[in-house]
Subunit: 184 residues, 2 copies
């Protein structure tokens, strides 16, 4: 039994060190429970990969009113490059920041000031939760206010989430052209 | 000896799992060699914390010409909140992206398109490299083109780096007002 025990410990160390260096970890933080209630995965800053960033222009004048930073779960990018689509279980987390804008040495500059919340999407091509109004068209969808990353305020993805994604329907509802890491 | 050996393995596992969950790790990737040559730390996406994001407005019309995303080494934010200044060894990494701008469902939106490179700064209040023109005024300073994260193209921080930071001199040359996480 002793050699087996030592081997077991070595395997544990190996799996954890991969996670520490940004490789897929074996036990990622949960993003959905059995009923399909989503939450912001607690480990996304430590274990996800930054996929891209967006600046939404101010309605009047110069500057940006919002900054968005998007993270993808471990393995998402590699699978997309290999298969040409998002693999089931892939998670996207988009941070949404309100900005403040001012004149700086490099010009008119807006910076992330306050986190408003997160958009979370989980790929699900198998329609796993047909009775849940936050799942459909190949994804689980939810918005989370900054104050509560574990309980969504969304009630129906077709009303709360999908309308802004209609122009990206052909690319699995994701604006992949904004994510150069997804291009071969 | 056997009990000691088991205890040693347990300590290793504990240190590595902390790193996997975004806590300070014991052996971060190097950012400077003994002579003070900086490099982009290989682990910053996995182990650093996102400190903030910036959008630089386009010269004409709407949209942003650059997006910047800033990361701080483990412990930097906690030390700043505790002491009111950056602790020696704190590392800041700023990704600089060129953008593409278009009309989207949320308005005029720019997204990170191409990584131009990184600004790296390392806090050094002790003037550790007095003969090195990339160290001084409390920091090591360097720019890295995207093609070479291990060799800077900067030759003199007073010419290549510091001029854009002059308005932030009173806050240790850092635009801390753009980083809400540094506010108590």
């Amino acid at each position: 039994m002793k050699p087996m025990g030592g081997f077991g410990i070595a395997l544990v160390v190996s799996a954890i060190s991969l996670a520490a260096y940004g490789q897929p970890e074996r036990n990622p933080a949960p993003v959905a429970d059995a009923e399909g209630h989503l939450r912001v995965p607690a480990d996304y800053h430590a274990n996800y990969h930054m996929l891209g960033a967006w600046a939404v222009a101010a309605d009047r004048g110069q500057g940006s009113k919002e900054l968005h930073v998007v993270f993808a779960s471990p393995g998402t990018i590699d699978a997309y490059l290999r298969d040409g689509h998002f693999g089931d279980g892939s998670v996207l987390v988009k941070e949404v920041f309100e900005t403040a804008t001012g004149s700086m040495t490099t010009g008119t500059v807006s910076h992330a000031q306050t986190l408003k919340g997160w958009f979370v999407m989980v790929r699900d091509s198998k329609n796993s939760h047909p009775g849940n109004k936050l799942w459909g068209d190949g994804w689980g969808w939810s918005w989370f206010d900054a104050a509560n990353p574990s309980k969504t305020t969304s009630t129906d993805y077709k009303v709360n989430c999908q309308p802004c994604h209609v122009p990206a329907k052909a690319s699995e509802w994701i604006y992949v052209s904004g994510y150069p890491a997804l291009r071969k």
